[in-house]
């Protein structure tokens, strides 16, 4: 086998560490509404690169708790920002990875999440009611991590996902919407957590997912669109749940992801030559882990968290990544 390109782990660790030091950058403040997600992305990437301690644990936990909204029972993305299901899931994921679940008011946050379920079975993101299968996934994942899945009306939840399934085997954001790799990831992930993979036309979907790979090795999110590093994770997560990661060319995808890294400043971008960010860094590294890239730790593709954490909670589902290679 040809030698694989090298992932510059120390540089990416430094890049993630440096993200909190840009406080005199306008962009840092313009993205405050994504802070909680960004910390989760950074932490997960660090865990996969086996540098979990590169960010200070206590400071991180204190930040997360400073975003807790006691009245609503959810987390905002930043102190004084409104609670929303996206940062709420990220907060639960961070606290779980850091072994600080005892800080969570489980009954309250469970109520908050359940209150967002709509009569159709889908979840809203917050009280203003935008609906999306992404939010349904967040709810299912959060309840599972908190050990509260028995409180969920599973049939109602699954029936909404079923109505989002398209003839190409994929899933959309809402009923009637076009299949999209990110929505496939959330719907397949939710079905995996709920042990309902029988809802999927597995051969059709795995075919559609395999066709996301373009000649340059990168993956796109929909037919006839451009490749992007973040799809590496979404497509691979679904493929590993269907146990079909081998249906794409792993070496070519590894090459593509690593070619999108910033060789000087660290971090990974959406595609080669672009500006890196923590979102693509995390999804690039996550994709590499599923592809068995040497030297990385296993990532659970359903929860997008370190596999060891999910295993210790007894939540591991029956997925299959590529075997870890030796360098």
């Amino acid at each position: 086998m040809a030698t694989l390109p090298r992932l510059n782990i120390p540089l990416h660790v430094k890049y993630i560490q440096s993200l909190g030091e840009n406080k005199d950058d306008l962009v840092y403040h313009l993205t405050a509404h994504l802070r909680m997600n960004a910390i989760y992305w950074g932490l997960t990437a660090l865990c996969v690169m086996d540098h979990k301690d590169a960010l200070n644990r206590d400071e991180m936990i204190e930040f997360v708790m400073s975003c807790w909204d006691e009245e609503a029972g959810g987390f905002g993305a930043h102190p004084d920002h409104d609670p929303h299901i996206l940062p709420t899931l990220s907060a639960i994921q961070i606290l779980t990875i850091q072994g600080a679940r005892d800080r969570i008011n489980v009954p309250k946050v469970t109520n908050f999440i359940l209150s967002l379920q709509q009569p159709s079975g889908v979840f809203a993101g917050d009280v203003f009611g935008e609906i999306d299968t992404r939010f349904l996934f967040c709810a299912v994942l959060a309840l599972s991590l908190l050990g509260q899945l028995d409180q969920l009306d599973v049939e109602k939840t699954v029936s909404y996902i079923r109505r989002c399934r398209n003839f190409d085997g994929g899933f959309g954001a809402v009923i009637g919407a076009e299949s999209h790799a990110a929505q496939v990831f959330v719907c397949v992930g939710a079905l995996a957590v709920l042990d309902r993979l029988d809802e999927i036309d597995q051969e059709r979907l795995a075919f559609w997912l395999a066709e996301r790979q373009l000649p340059n090795g990168g993956l796109n999110g929909r037919p006839e669109k451009l490749e992007d590093v973040c799809y590496s994770f979404w497509v691979l997560s679904a493929l590993s749940i269907l146990k079909k990661v081998s249906w794409i060319d792993a070496d070519k995808l590894i090459e593509f992801i690593i070619s999108a890294e910033d060789p000087e400043g660290g971090g990974i971008a959406d595609r080669p030559g672009d500006q890196p960010d923590v979102f693509h860094t995390q999804f690039g590294v996550a994709g590499l882990s599923i592809l068995g890239y040497p030297g990385l730790l296993d990532l659970d593709p359903v929860y997008c968290m370190p596999a060891s954490v999910i295993e210790s909670l007894g939540l591991r589902k029956d997925w299959e990544a590529l075997p870890r290679r030796v360098a």
């Binding site: 994504l34 004084d80 935008e130 919407a177 249906w247 672009d274």
Partner: protein, 334 residues
């Protein structure tokens, strides 16, 4: 961040830019602090409303400020406004967010705010029809989303939003006109899978309601898709749609006819992966669903052809060879 090129600047250039940015940064932080303080203290007046406008102009992704703005309207301004004033306020917000969308066509929060505005348009008190304002707004909205799709025909947020608008209109538009819209989009660009997808949804609904004869209309669809297949056989949108038309493959005659048509195209374009892929798919459907009407000789011929096509596919499309291996396995076992 998507599609932002990485540029290396010298330390001096970066420093100079940072200096220039400082004024902007200070202004933004002051505004943010002020708006969040007002929100915390429960201010729901016009001054706070105008402040949210200034913040959102700088950062339309600040969802907390969108929420605050809606709460100001709902609980601070609407209670003391006439229906016509409320309608004007919402119209202003709809105009403002159009300007935002031109710059940020994929920011969810902007689309959400438009939905909220449209859903809060009051009954029209003067006109005979209480829905008059709403209907005028929905019509305008359809026009807006069409403009967005003219700019980017694959923007899936815009497509989702379009379906939402169509479903919300007080005077629904006919599904035939939506079908015509997808025809226009497809004819402008065959590889617009978003339009093919929408077409499959509209047709399903028209067939189920009995407003369109499924047999005749399906034949027209085969003509349309064949035309597209010949134009660009490498375009997967078209082949995915073709597979939808075939469905589960219950009609052996249809399968045979389409197999022949695709074979003809493959003879002209001998390296077309999608021709080979589709032939394997439809031949396997024949084998799986219609084995009882096939003679043993035909069965073994179909199997042989599938295996031959699969080994060719491995050559033309090595990235996915493991899938073709598995398909070979499954053909051998049918």
């Amino acid at each position: 961040m998507h599609g932002v090129q990485r540029v290396r600047y010298s330390r001096e250039v970066l420093e100079a830019r940072k200096q220039r940015e400082q004024a902007k940064l200070k202004e933004y932080l002051a505004l943010t602090e002020e708006v969040l303080a007002k929100k915390k203290s429960g201010e729901l007046n016009r001054e706070a409303f105008d402040l949210t406008t200034r913040v959102l102009r700088l950062n339309p992704e600040f969802y907390t400020v969108w929420n605050y703005r809606r709460n100001i309207l709902l609980h601070g301004i609407f209670p003391s406004s006439s229906p016509s004033e409320i309608n004007d306020l919402l119209s202003d917000d709809l105009s403002m967010t159009i300007a935002f969308l031109k710059q940020h066509p994929k920011v969810y929060w902007i689309w959400n705010h438009r939905r909220w505005c449209l859903e809060n348009v009051p009954d029209c008190p003067t006109d005979g029809d209480p829905h008059a304002w709403r209907q005028a707004n929905w019509n305008k909205e359809l026009f807006v989303v069409e403009k967005m799709l003219d700019a980017d025909a694959r923007n899936f947020l815009a497509w989702n939003y379009r379906r939402y608008v169509l479903a919300s209109m007080t005077l629904p538009r006919s599904e035939e006109s939506e079908l015509a819209y997808t025809t226009r989009k497809i004819e402008a660009n065959f590889s617009n899978f978003s339009a093919w997808h929408q077409r499959s949804k509209v047709l399903t609904s028209l067939w189920e309601s009995g407003n369109l004869d499924p047999v005749k209309s399906r034949e027209q669809e085969f003509d349309l898709v064949k035309n597209a297949m010949y134009t660009d056989p490498a375009d997967q949108s078209v082949w995915i749609y073709h597979a939808w038309l075939i469905g589960r493959g219950d009609d052996a005659g249809l399968l045979r006819r389409e197999i022949d048509a695709i074979q003809e195209l493959l003879d002209e374009q001998p390296d077309s992966k999608w021709c080979m892929e589709s032939l394997v798919r439809y031949k396997r459907l024949l084998l799986q669903n219609h084995t009882s009407i096939l003679e043993e000789k035909e069965r073994s011929e179909l199997r042989e052809e599938c295996l031959r096509l699969l080994s060719q596919l491995k050559e033309y499309d090595p990235q996915r060879r493991r899938r073709y291996d598995e398909l070979e396995e499954s053909v051998r076992n049918t």
